[in-house]
């Protein structure tokens, strides 16, 4: 039987990224995927006539440009188009827009509050200061603070220096920032409810916490730290849907000689004498390799695909306790035309933006209350985009695809499985929410796909359908991600590695976990590094 240098389990964007960098270094790599299509949660699916659905992830900003460049993804069909801004529709018929042009954005804020418009500059500098701090560490392996290895000490000093560089007052602020709630953070700058509500959404997306929960300020940062072409905080659409990201990385991987196998789900990671030697597929086939890399989340990897006896007990326990809770769902809709939003001026640039429908902090928190009660938000927070407003490839001319990210949506309803009527009720709550602001919306709906956390888990494999493979709170970040002592991509079994979003720097279509894992694997195998370094902002 052939022995590969490496098997990558899961052809999501991170698995493919690891695969591509290993293949680029000349390794013999096979990437196996349980579904009959690749991409994991960065995928474009043809689910209705000529429509392509970005049916999981839907916008792109975090994808590291260093990786984009190193793998020459543009030659494999990737193109990311930034979009304007965002809009929050208000119950009183008004709206609050945010715009690409800073002066227009200023005027819009001043329409609500001169104070907030002026405060935005300080808010922006403070938030960007935190972005600057974290961005440098995205393409680096977190140091182990208990280790005396020169590499760890060097990295710890690097973090320390970067921290000291901020200046004394900023150090206090930073610690507060990393632990405080997004609501408290925004209260320090703004007075207008709708402005705070509009900004607070980034603090809870993908997280089973409310805007008043400690730790959500950092989640906001996670949504700000990306960039499109150096514009930090800007988001874009991948041309052809998010599958273009995975497909282009797969294209690079195959160009480097890598092998892709679909419909090849892994049943078991084989361990002999504390070392992995390969995997057993669901169909019983065995593939052997010197290295196995799991792009699955840590719970699925260690609790579902391994023998408990092959793992250290405390590690196993910590993986069990890793927070990876289902908190969001999706509704993906094919539309017969562009819905109109009477609040917006005709031809407004805000039609090309992400749209939201909760205009107060009170409503934001109430949405979370429903989740705590074990049900979906009856007044849901929706992050809605219409990528076909700029992308001519995803729907026929004049027709549109609408992606609705919906929060909150629990994995189980009061502890039991979803029923079909309940799934429809969930969809209805989303449709009604949008229809409140767009009278012609409902009649334009041609088809929709409902995605509860349960659906996402069943199809993609992510535990509880958590978009980040584990929540992004301080206890689960940096050297604590996924569990203390195992943040450097190595599992407690020789030859086994983790490269999914459960490891540093976490979720989103960033490809950084995949790249970082590849760098560590290449170092262990004493192969030349193919993973690029951070460009650096300074």
């Amino acid at each position: 039987m052939k022995t590969y240098d490496a098997i990558i389990v899961g052809a999501g964007h991170n698995g493919l990224t690891t695969a591509a960098f290993l293949a680029k270094a000349g390794l013999d790599v096979v990437c196996v995927e349980k579904n009959d299509y690749i991409g994991g949660a960065a995928v474009s699916r043809n689910l209705y006539e000529d429509w392509m659905y970005s049916n999981c992830s839907y916008v792109c900003s975090l994808l590291r440009p260093e990786i984009y460049r190193a793998l020459e993804l543009h030659k494999h069909g990737l193109q990311v188009t930034p979009y304007g801004g965002s809009v929050t529709f208000m119950e009183n018929g008004d709206y609050f827009g945010s715009y690409h042009d800073p002066e227009v954005a200023y005027r819009e804020m001043a329409r609500f509050s001169q104070h907030d418009a002026d405060a935005y500059e300080r808010y922006s500098a403070d938030t960007m200061r935190q972005c600057r701090f974290i961005r440098d560490f995205l393409l680096r392996t977190p140091p182990d603070p208990t280790s005396f290895k020169p590499k760890d000490i060097k990295e710890l000093i690097a973090i320390g220096n970067k921290f000291m560089e901020m200046g004394e007052d900023r150090m206090y602020e930073t610690i507060r920032f990393w632990t405080m709630s997004v609501a408290e953070y925004l209260d320090e700058y703004f007075e207008t409810d709708v402005i705070k509500a509009a900004m607070s959404g980034s603090g809870i997306i993908g997280t089973a916490l409310g805007i008043h929960s400690p730790g959500t300020a950092y989640v906001l940062l996670h949504h700000y730290m990306g960039d499109v072409d150096g514009n930090v905080g800007t988001w874009g659409f991948a041309r052809g849907g998010m599958g273009a990201v995975s497909n282009s990385i797969a294209g690079a991987f195959q160009a480097y000689g890598g092998e892709l196998r679909t419909e090849a789900g892994v049943a078991q990671i084989i361990v002999n004498n504390g070392r992995t030697t390969g995997v057993v597929l669901e169909n019983g086939d065995e593939i052997s390799a010197r290295v196995v890399v799991s792009a699955m989340d840590v719970k699925r990897t260690f609790l579902k695909c391994m023998e408990r006896s092959d793992l250290p007990e405390s590690f196993y326990k910590r993986v069990e306790n890793f927070k990876i809770r289902g908190s969001s769902g999706k509704l993906n809709i094919a539309l017969d035309g562009m819905p109109t939003f009477p609040a917006l001026p005709e031809g407004s640039s805000l039609y090309i933006s992400d749209m939201h429908f909760i205009d107060s902090m009170e409503r934001m928190e109430r949405a979370y209350d429903d989740w705590k009660d074990g049900t979906w938000s009856k007044d849901p927070y929706i992050d809605m985009t219409i990528p076909t407003a700029v992308d001519p490839t995803m729907a026929p001319p004049g027709k549109h695809f609408m992606s609705c990210f919906v929060q909150y949506c629990p994995y189980k309803l009061e502890g039991r499985d979803w029923t079909d009527p309940e799934r429809e009720e969930f969809a209805k709550s989303v449709i009604e929410q949008i229809a409140n602001y767009s009278p012609d919306f409902k009649e334009l709906i041609l088809h929709y796909e409902i995605r509860t956390p349960q659906d996402i888990e069943d199809e993609i494999g992510i535990t509880e359908g958590n978009i980040f493979h584990g929540e992004l709170t301080m206890d689960q970040l940096l050297f604590n991600r996924p569990v203390p002592g195992y943040a450097q991509y190595r599992a407690p079994v020789a030859g086994l590695y983790m490269c999914g979003s459960s490891v540093h720097p976490g979720g989103g279509v960033m490809a950084a976990p995949g790249a970082n894992a590849a760098r560590e694997i290449l170092a262990d195998l004493k192969r030349p590094n193919t993973v690029p370094e951070n460009f650096g902002d300074d």
Partner: protein
């Protein structure tokens, strides 16, 4: 006798009414006497319209000459360095023309409209030179800049937009080909040319029909992401396509004072446009001599590490352990579509061979303070952006 005063201030192109109506940012510059927009909504949006949908650019101010007469083919062939006999009727050629010393006066496109009838388009104005070069030829050279309204329609949905507008048969048009259509009783010429390196066309029509054409185009394009664009977006696209700009990447030889500041086609990476098999063309002797002795300069396309654009940077080479200055950057950009830090520059030979490594000194400012980085760069030979759709015939729908 009444003498008309020459027009004062900036001229307005026949599309001005439509462009100013689309304009939201009020940023204009002057282009050969005309008002031309830097941007209309947002530079980024316009740039991405080129790469993602369709962007429309008013290129009316481009200098245009009609060259006709019995000797026109022979004249054109002597004027430019490439073999124009190979450019059949209905085809377009990119070309350069040189002074006697083999230094580039300008580059441009030559449209072989009908048998023996040409249009020459260039950035700069060359009537005097064209006439001087015509001595002894039976040709007529007519300036027609104001007589032709022209639009560039560029981007992946441009074919779809033009088909929707009713241009039947356009699917057969190959790159650098041209076709004529009837548009409201007027002749509409469409060439598959452009300055963006993407799928795209240029439309040529009499000024009286300009507004009608614009309206028809935007009506046809409304479901295909059509947008008007300004010069800033085009400038970024042309650097990605690796095209040269006069007064930026080279100087017109006849308008340059200092010795050594002009360039030959060989020095601009345009050797493929110089056909020494032709018995005679302007600058031939000097260029043959340069080819024998070697050129002094070489144009380089650079893929630079990092993400900080290398505007106005010096280029260095490592020699005997030291870095010595060998040239400078003439155009630079961060390429949003390639996610590459790209530049065009000029270096002294023998430096700058394709595949070689050079260093670029990048200065950048962050919150008042300046920093300097020595970034490694690789010399590449292909355009940075060359998507398959650019040359596919028939073109795709998006």
């Amino acid at each position: 006798m009444s003498i008309a005063e020459v027009p004062q201030g900036r001229l307005r192109s026949p599309f001005y009414s439509r462009i100013s109506a689309a304009d939201t940012v009020n940023q204009w510059h002057e282009w050969k006497g005309y008002s031309s927009a830097d941007a209309l909504y947002c530079e980024d949006t316009e740039y991405f319209a080129i790469r993602n949908a369709t962007a429309v650019f008013d290129l009316t101010p481009m200098t245009k000459y009609r060259i006709t007469g019995p000797d026109a083919p022979e004249y054109i062939n002597r004027l430019v360095t490439r073999d124009m006999n190979r450019i059949k009727t209905g085809r377009v050629a990119y070309a350069v023309w040189c002074d006697d010393r083999g230094q580039v006066i300008d580059d441009g496109t030559i449209f072989h409209l009908k048998e023996g009838e040409y249009r020459l388009c260039s950035q700069e104005r060359h009537f005097a030179w064209l006439q001087t070069a015509a001595i002894g030829f039976d040709v007529s050279i007519v300036l027609e800049t104001e007589d032709i309204a022209a639009l560039a329609v560029q981007g992946p949905t441009s074919f779809t937009v033009l088909s929707t507008m009713g241009l039947n048969g356009l699917e057969d048009l190959k790159p650098f080909g041209l076709m004529n259509f009837d548009f409201d009783g007027a002749d509409l010429m469409v060439s598959r040319t452009g300055f963006t390196g993407d799928l795209g066309y240029e439309l040529w029509i009499e000024p009286g029909k300009a507004e009608l054409l614009w309206d028809a185009l935007f009506e046809a394009g409304k479901l295909h992401g059509i947008r008007a664009m300004g010069t800033n977006a085009l400038e970024l696209a042309r650097i990605e396509a690796g095209y040269l700009a006069a007064y930026q990447d080279f100087l017109p030889a006849d308008a340059t004072m200092r010795a050594g500041r002009t360039r030959s086609p060989l020095e601009l990476g345009l050797g493929w446009l110089v056909d020494f098999k032709k018995p005679n063309f302007n600058g031939r002797r000097a260029l043959a001599e340069e080819k024998r002795r070697g050129s002094a300069w070489r144009l380089v396309k650079l893929d630079i590490e990092g993400n900080k654009p290398a505007h106005h940077s010096y280029i260095f080479a490592k020699e005997k352990g030291n870095k010595s200055e060998i040239g400078f950057i003439t155009s630079a950009a961060w390429s949003p579509v390639c996610k590459q830090n790209i530049a065009i520059g000029t270096v002294r030979t023998p430096h700058g061979a394709v595949g070689s490594t050079v260093w670029v000194e990048v200065f950048y400012q962050r919150e008042m303070h300046w920093s300097r980085a020595m970034a490694q760069a690789t010399v590449v030979d292909k355009p940075f952006w060359f998507p398959p759709r650019r040359s596919a015939t028939p073109p795709g729908r998006y």
